[in-house]
Symmetry: C2
DNA sequence: GTCCTCACATACATGCATGTACGTATCTTA
DNA sequence: TAAGATACGTACATGCATGTATGTGAGGAC
């Protein structure tokens, strides 16, 4: 967002059709974002069918009129909210993962960053929509599955790279391991929502377990434990 | 159920007011079970709000009339279906866990048995209801939370016992570990639904990770994975 | 300043699922 | 067999949320 404030007054010299600053568009964007965030919270809390647009709009400080002015219908709003959450996820989680070179480090960073991401109310949007629409021929189902498939693809690549590098042991098919890894992260992140200090370490431990890695090597909390060398 | 079949024909001699076999109650029970199973599948697939009673009854071979004759309203049906699932879980999973003496063995048995339990359509009932009602003051929410708290209590006890026995390493608070363990099992079980051969081992691995145990010690798949005609 | 457009609010219409009242057939008791 | 109860089907009423049409006031172009 390369905006500064309002009150443009760019009354300088030669200015072609340069809108000094589109106050209209800015206003529109603001309310749109407020509606999207409210919708995302509502979806995460109540799911799609239980989501009442009156409450969504009210919680954002508007009425249903504003909502129907920006979005075609309820489904359109849900899709936009989902996209908004996925974008936020990419910014906050994907960005960190990209900076890791080692595949195992990337997977564990993803687990921890996702846990932090889940500390908000927005976190259960994806799983809620998936539970409600999975297996149906519905645009929302398709969008959610697309997101999951992208994530799965990334994880499959990391697991494969880790196995080739020898840092992830052989075992079940790579795809199944990746699915288990994702499921473990999601499940533990939701189960531990709010347990702020310990959540990241435990999610990483569960993720490590799905990958076949010793979880005690992951975080300092377990470092003090007696070295239980396996047979 | 101590029933045999229908067609009694107990036309022997002296028969006092012995109802040959309560055909009415039996009939009622049959349709009740059919409706409960249908409702459980529906809840697992669509959630509560998306659950249409017309479909529930139809899928069981009845109409909404039969449903409203047996259950007070939709909420009553959902509560009964939830109870039905929990009872089934106790029979199929809890029974096996009780027979384990070692706490770690019990926890891993629970993980594997739960995975097998989840291979049906009934499995997502609990998490679906929890997602839809958590944080609300609703009877369904209370019932679901009661079930989760019972499970959590059991797992907390096992983790404590395991730590005292030295088979589970020290680390985060016991309760957090138990929550992570349960979340890992749920998440992986759902994510791997259908991957019949490998699911149990991977769920056990994720659960082991949450507990701080080396997952490779858990299942033979990782012990000897030499072949693997990976493409 | 006039006109137009856009952002948003308000009021109305529609649909759909729930819940209820009532009708019918089967079983039970005498 | 007759009378009552019970299991279930059918038809109607209600509520609630969505979607649409219409109104109002604040920008922006001239």
């Amino acid at each position: 967002m390369h905006v500064c404030e309002d009150g443009p007054s760019r009354s300088g010299g030669g200015d072609p059709p340069s809108p000094r600053r589109s106050t209209q568009a800015e206003r529109r964007e603001r309310t749109r974002n407020a509606l999207l965030e409210s919708a995302a919270r509502g979806l995460s809390r109540y799911g799609y069918s239980n989501l009442v647009l009156e409450q969504v709009a009210r919680q954002a400080g508007y009425t249903r009129g504003a909502l129907y002015h920006q979005f075609k219908d309820k489904q359109d709003l849900a899709l936009a909210a989902l996209q908004w959450v996925l974008d936020t996820w990419d910014q906050e989680v994907g960005r960190q993962v990209e900076q890791e070179s080692d595949p195992v480090a990337a997977l564990l960073t993803l687990a921890r960053a996702h846990t932090v991401f889940c500390r908000r109310d927005i976190a259960r949007v994806a799983i809620a929509l998936r539970l409600e629409f999975s297996g149906q021929d519905h645009p929302i189902a398709h969008e959610v599955e697309k997101g999951y498939q992208a994530l799965t693809g990334t994880c499959v690549d990391f697991v494969e790279a880790g196995r080739e590098a020898g840092s992830i042991p052989d075992g079940p098919p790579v795809r199944d391991v990746a699915l288990a890894y994702i499921g473990a992260i999601e499940g533990t992140s939701i189960a531990l929502a709010g347990q702020v200090p310990q959540d990241a370490a435990l999610v990483a431990a569960a993720a490590a377990g799905a990958l076949g890695l010793d979880p005690r090597a992951m975080y300092p909390s377990y470092a003090a434990a007696p070295k239980e060398t396996h047979s």
